[in-house]
Amino acid sequence: MAEVLVLVDHVDGTCRKTTSELLTIARRLGEPSAVFVGAGYDTAAPTLAAFGAEKVYRADSDALTAYLVVPQAELLAQLVERVQPAAVLIASSAEGKEVAARLAVKVGSGLITDAVDVQSDGNGGVVTTQTAFAGGYTVRATVTKGVPVIAVKPNSAPPEQVSGAAAVEAVDYTPSALAQGARIAASTPRARTGRPELTEAAIVVSGGRGTGGDFSKVEAFADSLGAAVGASRAAVDAGWYPHTSQVGQTGKQVSPQLYVACGISGAIQHRAGMQTSKTIVAINKDDEAPIFELVDFGVVGDLFAVLPAATDAVQASKG
């Protein structure tokens, strides 16, 4: 059975949830081989084995972490040419899409990004599902040339545990001159909020113009549900919340089990980031706000009255 390369998405060895999802998807297409780049392998190893990685290609070179995308793309290109995998799966994050883009050009492959489902076509090929035009359409696509390179969004498959051999093979890698053309000169970590990551969260509570800049009630409600906090473009442009929390066309596209929009009117810019959510709830003073066209449940009212009452009720239900 052909190998399927999965680029491990991790921070110092702690795997992001997408890694177990990608390994699960890889098993539909062939035999999963994890590609682990950077430090912290011992931390990652049990996860890779638990989700079915038969092989692990491991490269640990300073160049792979000191420089940006190019070293990872060069390493993957080297592996693709040697292994001839059935597909390469990469997390559809900003960085993952860049690695995928360089890789696709290097090896002459078709690239699909933002896949929300990946299945075998039964003939050794791959069929993917994406949304288009602000979530207004669902599209099915195939790669018609080269080894399919697919960037897959978080929450695209429920991770399934299957133990794998996770046999390690060290890979030699020497970066090209181009790989060293852009380097990280400084890095300021963000303050940790303790909340889940926006794109991975099962529940997202977002605030917009209606918060007037006060996100405390939105955050308290989110925390009662164990949710991530998002913001509309209006709230971000006003400087009320960081851009990394923006949900919408020019921010994050989220697809949680539950999305709660607080004081957000629901312009196309915002809908593009959230309308594929499974259940949608909105609170807005304006009963004509377009967000109410999308909701499963809506409350016409002041979020500063509704949210605290709802937070209390959620807390009470926990006993």
Binding site: G136, T244, I280, A313
Partner: protein, 260 residues
């Protein structure tokens, strides 16, 4: 510093965007188009750099006849000249082919110090063409810039990532893609609109770039859209007016759906 800005003519996101049923490509004929909003930030950033120093800004687009509107808008904002690559054979090209055409166009213009793009188009939204273009040009790419500073031999970029805000340095020539956080794009002035009429716009075909129809277009794409379907309208939900009990009713709904 000479800068090339890549721009795209896209269907208006406010309109009812759809696909052509005949070949599953984006419908660009029946929906009004315009310069992709995210590309305005790229044009603005290039203009600011050149205005603070020297050099010129060339705008390049790949697209059908109407795509000249995207170039016109950029020239009205203040870009110096335009290049429009227009060839029927390009219809249906995917990101890989688009990056090939852009790369050859930039080589023909003459490799600039800096290539600037938006973070993604507002129609395809993949955001991979900038990186593919950098790969084809053999230059570093720094994407999602929220701040861009040019020094003698390179650029310094602030990128606001999920885990950290990072400063990235790259040597020139390089490619930078910019977010909508980087600046506030200017509106064309009356003077700018008048001046744009006299600015040169080159019209190039694939042959002018030494490319062949077999390298681009729908039939030769590296990916294929097999089918598309409109998302079914969401079922009408329950909407209640808060009369002091809105929070409790909301919690009741969440409980019913097993979220709490």
């Amino acid at each position: 510093m000479n800068i090339v800005v890549c721009v795209k003519y896209v269907p208006d996101a406010q309109a009812d965007r759809t696909f052509n049923a005949s070949d599953n490509t984006t419908d660009r004929a029946n929906v009004d188009g315009l310069l992709s909003e995210l590309d305005e930030y790229a044009v603005e950033e290039a203009l600011k750099i050149v205005e603070a120093g020297e050099g010129e800004v060339t705008v390049v687009t790949v697209g059908p006849d109407q795509a000249s509107d995207a170039i016109k808008k950029a020239l009205q904002m203040g870009a110096d000249k335009g290049v429009h690559v227009n060839d029927d054979a390009i219809h249906g090209s995917d990101a890989i082919a688009t990056s090939l055409v852009l790369a050859e166009a930039i080589k023909k213009i003459g490799m600039p110090d800096l290539v600037v793009t938006g973070m993604a188009s507002t129609d395809g939204t993949m955001g991979v063409v900038p990186t593919m273009l950098a790969e084809r040009l053999g230059v570093p790419a720094v994407t999602f810039a929220s701040e861009l500073t040019v020094s003698g031999s390179g650029v310094s970029v602030r990128r606001d990532g999920d885990a950290a805000s990072v400063t990235i340095e790259a040597s020139v020539p390089c490619l930078v893609s910019v977010t909508d956080q980087i600046n506030e794009p200017r509106y064309p002035s009356f003077k700018g609109i008048m001046a744009a009429k006299k600015k040169p716009v080159e019209q190039w075909t694939l042959a002018d770039l030494g490319l062949d129809a077999s390298q681009v277009g729908l039939a030769n794409a590296w990916t294929a859209v097999q089918s598309f379907e409109a998302r079914p309208p969401r079922a009408v939900g329950t909407i209640v007016k808060d009369e002091g009990d809105g929070g409790a009713k909301l919690a009741g709904f969440l409980s019913e759906r097993k979220f709490i």
